[in-house]
Amino acid sequence: MPTRIILDTDPGADDALAILLMLASPEIQLEALTTVQGNVNLEKTTRNALALLEFLNASHIPVAKGCSTPLIKPPHGEQGEEVHGKTGLGQAILPEPRSKVVEPHAVDYLIERFLTEPGELTLFAIGPLTNVALAIRKEPKFAQAVKELVIMGGAVRSGGNITPLAEFNIHEDPHAAHVVFNSGIPITLIPLDVTYKCLLTAKDVERLNGIDSPIAKFVRDVTADYMEFYLKYEGFDGCALHDPLTVAAVIAPELFSIEKHYVNVDISGGVSTGKTYADFMKVSKKPANMKVALGVKGREFVDLFVERLESFCRSRL
């Protein structure tokens, strides 16, 4: 039985790669996307979600449109376009989608899907957690209905990538993260501590492009600007597979070393706002609220990623 997943996402270059990897993995049945502002604005993330599904012949998967701003903070604006390109998908050019979003707001769509089949569906959240937080607050039964929630976000021991201390998704809506972390949903957190160990290099992209496939070409185009950004700002060759790494929680959990901790996020408005921290020494005496991936066999994951995409490209020739 494949794991049935609803994905809350802000595509986004690495979001697009996560969607690709999900569709390329027989262990996963991707049932819906809900969009949120994040890497780029909501209009663009929603357009990208629809366009990407059409490009991959998967437009039977419904897309629901979510929140255009974080709960409390103003959105970060157009900064994200430097990382993910003007459209959010780097240099990739996908045709305007013909399909439309489904009627309900993403928050209500999530509530409806999870309450219809309580305990059956797994939620993946790879953008700011605004939609998920609102679903929790609007419907008190939502948290209990989610089988598991896998989040890309946070930097537990590692440094931040948007402030010295904070990771982007969590920093973009720290209040939403606070709600979600303390909701009681069983969470697996995939923080920067592990995602920065999974670097897709230009060589990997070229290997994939050994297959003459529009999907392989898309991967090259979507990662081009992304790689340039990493080279310019973070000084390494390749790009971190932040969002795709969440998929390993289903298809290759053995790659992770996982610890259970009480994890929370700073919403105090000071220098560490958006900082995700674990109570390693149990000083707060609070019970663990999530599993956190703190180690990963990075190269093995990248190889798996490339292999899955190779098979996917071949199957679509």
Partner: protein
């Protein structure tokens, strides 16, 4: 033309009096009531809203249930102020009517979007429902007529912490969203409500009329007066919410200042403090009208006369 209002409320003793004042006022039509956590749980505030409407023979007014937790903070309710039921010593029968299906925040969105420029929101509790409505449907900002908010303490001391008023302290994050939303807003802070004390003499005047409503007002406010005496050394009780309701149709009760108002969400000692940037150091546009001066007797006469009218009709 009467004003069409939606009341977002957590009854609550003074909330219930505000609902009664609205029902007693021909200047207003209550289109609906949305319940929220606050004085007591949402389960209870919903029930109380229904009971009050039944008491006043107004159960045609629909009630929608809203959020039962603050947006980000942990829950805080106040049975010591309002009693375990939320209505002091009053014991109203279990309501026969039920809340309508659908979430309170969706009702707010639907009403405002289907009748642009016509709906006045009157927010008497923590602002959770309205904050969620704003995040789900940002266009309500341009389509709501105006929003009256009971909350905050600008130059006045707090009533829940040294600095913070109850409604904004319970959900400061929601208040932050609402204050910065761009909706036309009129704030009724403790600065004016604490000038208007409902006294034992006022109650005795109402009790000359034999009505289930006067009995209700007596039973509920007796508890409220004991609280004010015990905790704040005040004789009588402060009826914040009816005062906010009165301003929707009799603005001349108060004097207003256009101010830049914000709420502290930094989780320090000032959490929930509502403060005005009187000198506009932040150089931000003014975001609300704040009632800063009041004619207390003018308000109290209005309240008592309207209650007398209502009580005479409902025996």
């Amino acid at each position: 033309m009467p004003k069409h209002i939606i009341i977002d409320t957590d009854p609550g003793i003074d909330d219930s009096l505000a609902i009664l004042l609205a029902l007693a006022s021909p200047e207003l039509v209550i289109d609906g009531i949305v319940s929220v956590h606050g004085n007591v749980s949402t389960e209870q505030t919903t029930k109380n809203a229904l009971s009050i409407l039944e008491l006043a023979k107004a159960s045609h007014v629909p009630v929608y249930k809203g959020c039962d937790l603050p947006l980000v903070k942990e829950s805080l309710i106040s049975p010591e102020t309002h009693g375990d039921s939320g209505l002091g010593y009053a014991q109203l029968p279990e309501p026969v009517t039920q809340p309508k299906a659908g979430h309170g925040s969706d009702y707010i969105i639907e009403q405002i979007m289907s009748r642009p420029g016509e709906i006045t929101l009157v927010a008497l509790g923590p602002l959770t429902n309205i904050a969620i409505a704003l995040r789900k449907e940002p266009r309500i900002v341009k389509n709501v007529k105006e929003v009256f908010v009971m909350g905050g303490a600008i130059q006045h001391t707090g009533n829940t912490t040294a600095l913070a008023e109850f409604n904004t302290f319970v959900d400061p994050h929601a208040a932050h969203i609402v204050f910065h939303s761009g909706m036309p807003m009129i704030l009724t802070p403790l600065d004016v409500t604490y000038q208007c004390i409902f006294m034992k003499d006022d109650l005795d005047r109402l009790l000359k009329i034999d009505s289930p409503i006067t009995k209700y007002i007596s039973d509920s406010t007796r508890f409220y007066m004991e609280f004010h005496d015990e905790y704040q050394g005040i004789e009588g009780c402060v009826i914040n919410d009816p005062m906010t309701m009165a301003l929707t149709f009799m603005p001349e009760i108060c004097d207003y200042q256009d101010l830049v108002v914000d709420v502290d969400i930094s989780t320090g000692v000032g959490l929930g403090n509502t403060f005005a940037d009187f000198y506009n150091y932040g150089k931000k546009p003014k975001n609300m009208k704040v009632a800063m001066g009041v004619r207390p007797r003018m308000f109290m006469e209005l309240f008592l006369k309207r209650m007398e009218n209502l009580c005479s009709k409902i025996r």
